[in-house]
C-alpha cells in the first residue's frame, strides 16, 4: 500500500490549493462587496485623482520615450529624449539645470529654515500677540507671486523712479539707474529674494502647529539632564518632538520650490528671459510644450522634474521620519 500514497497525496494537495484559491477569490469579492460603502465614499476622489494626476503622470512617462508633436501618433524612440537632454540641449545643460539647482538650493532650504526660525520666534511670544505676527509673515504668501508681481516690477523698475534705484542712488551706492530685471546678472538674485519673501506658506503654519505639540515637560527634563542653551534645546528637544510637522512642511516646501516657474516671466514679462538668466526647468517645459510643440521632449523634462521632487521627498523622509522606537 505504501508506494501508492505519494502519488495520491499531491493530487489532493493541488486540488485543495485550487479550492483554496477559489475560496480566497470568492472571499475577496465578498469582502469587497461588504466594504462597498467605503469604496463608494472614496470613488469621487479616486476618479478625479486618476483622471488628473495618475493618468497624466503615466502618460508623461510614456510620452517621455516618444517623439510627439501633438498631431499624429507618438513615435517610440527609447531614451533618445533623455540622451539629447544631456548631449544636445545646450540651453538645458548650460542655463536651465544650473539655474534650477541654484534657485532650488537657496529657496528650498533657505525658505524652510527661515520658516522654522520665524515660527520658533513667534512661538516664544505670549499667546495673544502671536496671531498678528503670524499674519504679517504669512500675508505675502497669500497674495502669491502673481499678484505681487506688480509690486516687484515697480520696486525693481529700471528707471530713476524705481524704488530700489532711487534708494541706492540717494545713498550714493550707484550713480546711474540699473536695469535690474533686464540684466542677466541680477535677475536670478531678484527671483530668489522675491521667492523667499513668499515662502512662509502652509509649511510655516504647520511648523507653528508643530511647536504647540511639543510637550513642555520635556524642556524641564532637558534642563535637569544638562541642556545649557536655547540652541541645544531646539536641536535636542524641539525638532525631534515635532518631526512629523517638519516632514509635512518639507514636502510643502519642495512642491512650492519646484512650482516656481511663473515668477521669472512675471518679473520680466517674457516667457524666455534675457540670456536665459532666469530660465528654470518649468520655463523650459513651457517653452518646449507651448512654443515649440515638442511634446515628447517636454514630457521627458517633466519626468526629470518629478524625479527630482521624488528624490528630495525621500531625502526629507530620511531626515525627519519618526523612528519606531520614538
Amino acid at each position: 500500500m505504501e508506494p501508492t500514497l505519494p502519488s495520491v497525496q499531491p493530487s489532493i494537495k493541488t486540488r485543495r490549493r485550487k479550492t483554496d484559491l477559489k475560496q480566497r477569490i470568492v472571499l475577496f469579492i465578498q469582502e469587497c462587496w461588504r466594504d462597498r460603502l467605503s469604496y463608494l465614499f472614496l470613488a469621487p476622489f479616486l476618479i478625479c485623482f486618476a483622471a488628473f494626476i495618475l493618468v497624466p503622470v503615466l502618460m508623461a512617462a510614456f510620452l517621455s520615450v516618444t517623439s510627439f508633436n501633438g498631431i499624429g501618433f507618438p513615435k517610440f524612440i527609447g531614451f533618445d529624449n533623455f540622451i539629447a537632454m544631456v548631449t544636445q540641449d545646450f540651453v538645458f545643460m548650460r542655463n536651465t539645470l544650473p539655474n534650477t539647482l541654484q534657485f532650488a538650493v537657496i529657496v528650498g532650504p533657505g525658505g524652510y529654515i527661515l520658516s522654522f526660525v520665524f515660527a520658533w520666534l513667534i512661538h516664544q511670544l505670549p499667546r495673544g500677540a502671536r496671531e498678528w505676527y503670524t499674519l504679517a509673515l504669512y500675508a505675502p504668501s497669500m497674495v502669491g507671486g502673481v499678484a505681487l508681481s506688480v509690486v516687484w516690477v515697480a520696486a525693481f523698475s529700471g528707471d530713476r523712479a524705481g524704488y530700489l534705484n532711487n534708494i541706492l542712488m540717494s545713498l550714493n551706492m550707484i550713480d546711474s539707474p540699473k536695469l535690474w530685471l533686464q540684466d542677466p546678472n541680477y535677475l536670478m538674485i531678484i527671483m530668489i529674494i522675491v521667492s523667499l519673501w513668499t515662502s512662509m506658506g502652509v509649511g510655516f503654519l504647520a511648523m507653528l502647529g508643530g511647536l504647540q505639540t511639543v510637550n513642555t515637560e520635556l524642556y524641564e527634563a532637558g534642563r535637569i539632564d544638562g541642556i545649557k542653551s536655547r540652541l541645544q534645546e531646539v536641536y535636542y528637544i524641539t525638532i525631534p518632538s515635532m518631526k512629523p510637522q517638519m516632514l509635512f512642511s518639507a514636502v510643502m516646501t519642495i512642491v512650492g520650490t519646484l512650482q516656481a516657474g511663473q515668477i521669472s516671466s512675471q518679473l520680466t514679462g517674457m516667457t524666455v528671459t534675457p540670456n536665459y538668466a532666469g530660465h528654470l526647468i518649468s520655463n523650459h517645459i513651457e517653452d518646449y510644450a507651448f512654443l515649440r510643440y515638442e511634446w515628447g521632449y517636454a514630457s521627458a523634462l517633466s519626468i526629470v522634474l518629478l524625479m527630482m521632487g521624488y528624490a528630495l521627498m525621500r531625502l526629507s523622509y530620511v531626515l525627519f521620519r519618526t523612528k519606531e522606537d520614538e
Binding site: P44, M142, A147, T213, L247, G269, I285, Y310
Partner: protein, 284 residues
C-alpha cells in the same frame, strides 16, 4: 492681550522688537499694494517715488471697471468667472475630501494602504509638470473651454484628503462604535458625527483650495481659449505683461488688492482653526 503683555520679561521685549521689525519688513509689499491701488495717476510719476498715498482716490477701481467694459470682455465677467469657479471648487473639494478622508481614517478595506501610500507620494505632486498630458486628458474628456476645466483638476487634492484624514484620526473610535450600537448607518455617522467635529480641518482645506483656485493662471492660459471663460488671475497676469511700466502699476495694484482681500478675510476668520489643523498635519 494687555494682561499677557504685563507679564513679559526684558528678553521678551527684545524679541517683540525684533519680530516687529521682521514683520514690518515682510509686510512692505502689502503696504505698497494697498497704497498704490489708491494712488491717483499724478502721484505715480512723482520723483522721488513715494510709498504712501497722499490723496487717496477710488479712480483706479473705477477705471478698472470702466476701462475693460469698453474692451471685448468686461472686467466683471472675469470677476464673475473667478467667483463661480472658486465657490463650486470649494464645495467640491470639501465634499470629496471629507468623504475620502473619513473612509481612509475609520474604515478597513482592501487596497487601503495602497491608496494611502499613493496619496502620500502625490503630496509632492506638482501640477505644472504634467501640463501636456493633462491637456490630452482634458481634450479627451471634452471639458476644454468649459467651467469644468477650472474645477475638476482641483477636486483631486491629495493635500486636502491628507489633512482631513489626519484630523479624523484623532476622533476616538468609541464614538462611532457607540453610534453603531444604536443602529446608526455610515452615512448618519459621517454627516451627524464626523462633519460637525472636523470644522477646523474643513476651514483649512477651504483656505488652501481657495488660494490654489483663485490664484491659478495655468488653466485659463493653456486649457481655455474662450476669453469669456477666463478668470481674474489670468486677466491680471496678461495685464501686467502687456502694459509694462508705471501706468499699469496702479491698475495692477487695484486688481492685486482685489485678489488679496478675500484671502485676507478668510485667513483672519479662520487663522486659529488653521493652526489647530496643523497640530495634526504631521507625516509619521
Amino acid at each position: 492681550m494687555y494682561r499677557s503683555l504685563r507679564r513679559i520679561t526684558f528678553s521678551q521685549w527684545l524679541l517683540l522688537l525684533l519680530l516687529t521689525g521682521i514683520g514690518l519688513f515682510m509686510f512692505i509689499p502689502i503696504v505698497f499694494l494697498f497704497n498704490n491701488a489708491f494712488k491717483p495717476l499724478s502721484e505715480l510719476f512723482i520723483f522721488p517715488p513715494t510709498i504712501f498715498v497722499r490723496q487717496p482716490t477710488w479712480a483706479n477701481f473705477e477705471r478698472l471697471f470702466l476701462f475693460t467694459s469698453s474692451g471685448a470682455v468686461p472686467f466683471t465677467r472675469y470677476l464673475f468667472n473667478s467667483a463661480i469657479v472658486v465657490v463650486i471648487a470649494l464645495i467640491g473639494v470639501v465634499l470629496v475630501s471629507t468623504m475620502a478622508g473619513y473612509v481612509l481614517s475609520k474604515h478597513r478595506f482592501h487596497f487601503k494602504s495602497l491608496i494611502m501610500g499613493t496619496i502620500m507620494i502625490s503630496l509632492m505632486f506638482v501640477p505644472e509638470t504634467v501640463l501636456i498630458p493633462r491637456y490630452l486628458v482634458i481634450n479627451a474628456l471634452g471639458i476644454r473651454d468649459t467651467y469644468f476645466v477650472h474645477i475638476l483638476p482641483f477636486v483631486a487634492s491629495p493635500v486636502a484628503v491628507f489633512l482631513i484624514k489626519q484630523f479624523i484620526d484623532q476622533i476616538p473610535d468609541s464614538l462611532m462604535e457607540a453610534a453603531k450600537l444604536d443602529g446608526a448607518t455610515d452615512v448618519y455617522i459621517f454627516t451627524k458625527i464626523i462633519i460637525p467635529l472636523i470644522g477646523p480641518a474643513v476651514a483649512t482645506v477651504s483656505i488652501i483650495t481657495f488660494q490654489a483656485v483663485y490664484m491659478n493662471v495655468e488653466t485659463s492660459q493653456f486649457y481655455v481659449t474662450n476669453e469669456t471663460l477666463r478668470t481674474m488671475a489670468y486677466y491680471m497676469t496678461s495685464f501686467t505683461v502687456n502694459i509694462p511700466g508705471v501706468a499699469a502699476a496702479s491698475l495692477g495694484a487695484a486688481i492685486g488688492l482685489l485678489m488679496f482681500l478675500p484671502n485676507l478675510i478668510l485667513f483672519l476668520t479662520f487663522q486659529r482653526k488653521m493652526i489647530e489643523t496643523m497640530l495634526h498635519s504631521g507625516v509619521k
